[in-house]
Symmetry: C2
Subunit: 162 residues, 2 copies
């Protein structure tokens, strides 16, 4: 296919538009995650710690299994991160009603860090989103949701009590 034909072909133009979306996702997600990194670095934590703190903060009495299902990592991967968070008193572990399970809860220290980290992203998103109409925001959210795999949509709905 020649360059001219490419430009005249409506399907090709669509591909260019899709490629732009791929890049938009790449650049925007990178900048979205960049925020909390500075704070995390100071206390020798990484993004994995942030994610654990985030979901433990979100769901009271989250079990290890539930957390693994959300994060979709192995328990060996979670182990190191979680142990650090427990050792440094950001998270406390208690035994569940089913005594095989463990319940994870943020300490005040953990909650403070969670607030601090999430606030950076919240502030940033708020600032951006307030510039747009309800319709734009709706399109944004609807399409993001549609981009989630079915099984993970269920997970998302679950943790948002839908």
């Amino acid at each position: 296919m020649t360059d001219l034909n490419k430009l005249l072909n409506p399907l090709f133009l669509k591909d260019i538009e899709i490629k732009k979306i791929i890049e938009l996702l790449f650049f925007s997600y990178r900048d979205f995650t960049a925020g909390p990194d500075a704070i995390l670095e100071k206390i020798n934590f990484g993004r994995a710690h942030h994610r654990v703190i985030y979901f433990v903060g979100k769901q009271k009495n989250l079990t290890i299994k539930e957390l693994l299902l959300i994060l979709q990592i192995t328990k060996q991967s979670l182990s190191r991160v979680l142990n650090q968070l427990v050792k440094e008193k950001y998270i406390v572990v208690s035994v569940g009603e089913d005594k095989r399970t463990k319940k994870l809860t943020l300490t005040q220290k953990g909650q403070d860090l969670e607030d601090q980290l999430t606030m950076i992203q919240t502030k940033r998103i708020k600032k951006i989103i307030n510039k747009f109409s309800e319709k734009d925001i709706n399109g944004f959210k609807k399409i993001l949701y549609a981009m989630i795999e079915q099984k993970n949509k269920i997970k998302f709905d679950e943790i948002n009590n839908k």
Copy 2:
């Protein structure tokens, strides 16, 4: 602040909505990047290789420096990935007009892989996006673009000839 007060406070409700957006970004981006991984794994490449192939494919005669500016990684990090891609003949390197610089180009093998990887994401996004109205898609793209840091917006515009 009590739970009841939280629910009655319009600012708090907004924070819940923002948190949902944070999660939407997390889940959707994860599923968005998951696609090409299976193919990459078979040939012992990772996401970093995909990114290099993507941007080298996008911009003819890209230099090392330009690539580093887009990817925002160190040259030591790029080095390993790029050397593998050159050694396995996905990318060819030639000397630029400024003889200090090097120009990167995809070989046919590289182009084939790029097509294959990008097609997975393109197909997926197309399938999703076709279900939505122009207005929704517009909101989606506008807000994603707004989420990019100013300096990276310039980068995005540059590689999209704006």
